[in-house]
């Protein structure tokens, strides 16, 4: 739902993912992280849908676009509402949102994220670092960090 914004699109994505998981469950290794395996399938399904719909690969651009824009990283506010955080999260590029969610919400390891997104671990680490920095800047842009950090 977060990734697709639209509930119908999200449900279609989940349905396709679960059906693929059911058909290929014999390839799942018992004892490994089932959630990480399902996330990997979901990312493949999502990537295929996007390629079919938009005919472009969005994953390389976010790094290039923001490479030089995160010079100063503001402090994280001490008080933050859920709405403020979600709004700031939606304000950063999707590639970084995905990495932050997989790391901070799903608590996947760097290797599990790398496998799920089919990217190198180094890319996971750099995107997570940039994503968190962009998130902190987005909080400032929303007028949150400056006021709260000064205790105003």
């Amino acid at each position: 739902m977060w990734m697709e914004r639209d509930r119908q699109e999200a449900e279609d994505l989940v349905q396709e993912t679960l059906l693929q998981a059911l058909r290929s469950f014999g390839r799942f290794s018992a004892g490994t992280n089932c959630r990480a395996w399902l996330v990997t399938i979901l990312q493949h399904v999502r990537s295929n849908k996007r390629r079919a719909k938009f005919r472009r690969d969005a994953f390389e651009r976010p790094d290039d676009r923001v490479a030089e824009t995160v010079a100063f990283v503001p402090p994280v506010p001490t008080q933050l509402t859920d709405e403020e955080m979600l709004a700031a999260l939606r304000g950063i590029p999707e590639a970084y949102q995905d990495i932050i969610l997989l790391s901070d919400v799903e608590e996947l390891s760097y290797k599990e994220i790398a496998d799920a997104l089919a990217i190198p671990m180094g890319t996971v680490m750099s995107r997570l670092h940039r994503g968190r920095a962009l998130l902190r800047k987005a909080l400032v842009a929303g007028g949150i960090a400056g006021d709260r950090a000064q205790g105003a």
């Binding site: 739902m1 990734m3 399902l38 979901l42 933050l80």
Partner: protein, 274 residues
């Protein structure tokens, strides 16, 4: 370790993706550098806020009608498969549907599939740590883990004491307690000894997981449930105030439930004090 190196490792450190020796070096630096300490606390706060905001959002929950429709669709798909694989297929359906019921893929929480993964990892930790002493990373003390990873569970387990030292089959004792890593998951780990068998007691991160245990109805606080054996080990669990506590051993199911029952009050009391 200098500030520059600590800042470069900060994201990996708060995500618990550094080796324990590196984490110790970072903590040693943080003890003497207030600037890096503030930065690390800010990153932890950011991570916790992201998680809290995401998991607390009702807009991201799956619709019940969608879950019901998926249930019917997956069962229909499974029944079209070969008869010899029906049990595995039903397990797949149960795991994936419970995942959706528990919050959906990437939507909210871990659900049963996540809990099952944790139980399997806990069993692996029991096998390689408590039984074989063959972990690739050296365990650290709970006190050290509490400082490094800022997780109150570590400090709570340090305070757990036995409510009874004798059970029906003889004496029970705490052999050791530490923080260890198995396949990328860190566990606060209590190792008990009873009837000449080691028993591992580990604490999982989220009490909501207990609501969807496979093969068990959700118990009230304080009651012990037996889970399906994993890799030949018996597994039992009980719900603490904020966490699920899992016990693993080669004891019989009845013996393990007796041990779990004897530990429940003291562990729950310690976790409640967090």
């Amino acid at each position: 370790m200098e500030c520059r190196e600590v800042r470069e490792l900060a994201d990996a450190f708060v995500s618990e993706q550094v080796l324990v020796e590196t984490a110790q070096a970072i903590v040693a630096h943080l003890d003497r550098c207030s600037a890096c300490q503030a930065e690390m606390e800010g990153l932890r706060r950011l991570r916790a806020s992201v998680r809290s905001a995401y998991l607390g959002s009702s807009d991201l929950s799956p619709r019940r009608e969608f879950v019901a429709a998926m249930d019917a669709r997956l069962r229909s798909e499974a029944l079209r498969g070969r008869a010899t694989s029906w049990r595995r297929t039903w397990l797949a359906i149960a795991a994936t549907l419970a995942l959706v019921l528990g919050g959906g893929l990437g939507l909210r929480g871990l659900g049963v599939a996540g809990f099952t993964a944790i139980v399997h990892a806990a069993v692996g930790d029991h096998r390689f740590c408590a039984v074989a002493f063959k972990l690739t990373e050296r365990p650290i003390s709970l006190e050290q883990a509490s400082r490094v990873y800022d997780d109150p569970v570590d400090g709570s387990l340090q305070a757990v004491e036995l409510s009874r030292t004798e059970l029906s089959g003889g004496p029970i004792r705490i052999l050791e307690r530490h923080s260890c890593v198995y396949e990328g998951r860190r566990f606060a780990h209590l190792v008990l000894g009873y009837k000449h068998q080691p028993i591992s007691l580990v604490v999982t991160p989220d009490e909501r997981l207990l609501r969807r245990l496979p093969g068990a109805s959700a118990p009230a606080d304080g009651s012990v449930v037996s889970l399906r054996p994993v890799d030949g080990f018996q597994v039992a669990a009980f719900r603490g105030p904020h966490h699920v506590v899992v016990l693993i051993s080669s004891l019989s199911d009845d013996d393990l439930r007796e041990v779990a029952g004897s530990m429940e009050a003291s562990v729950s009391r310690a976790l409640k004090g967090m």
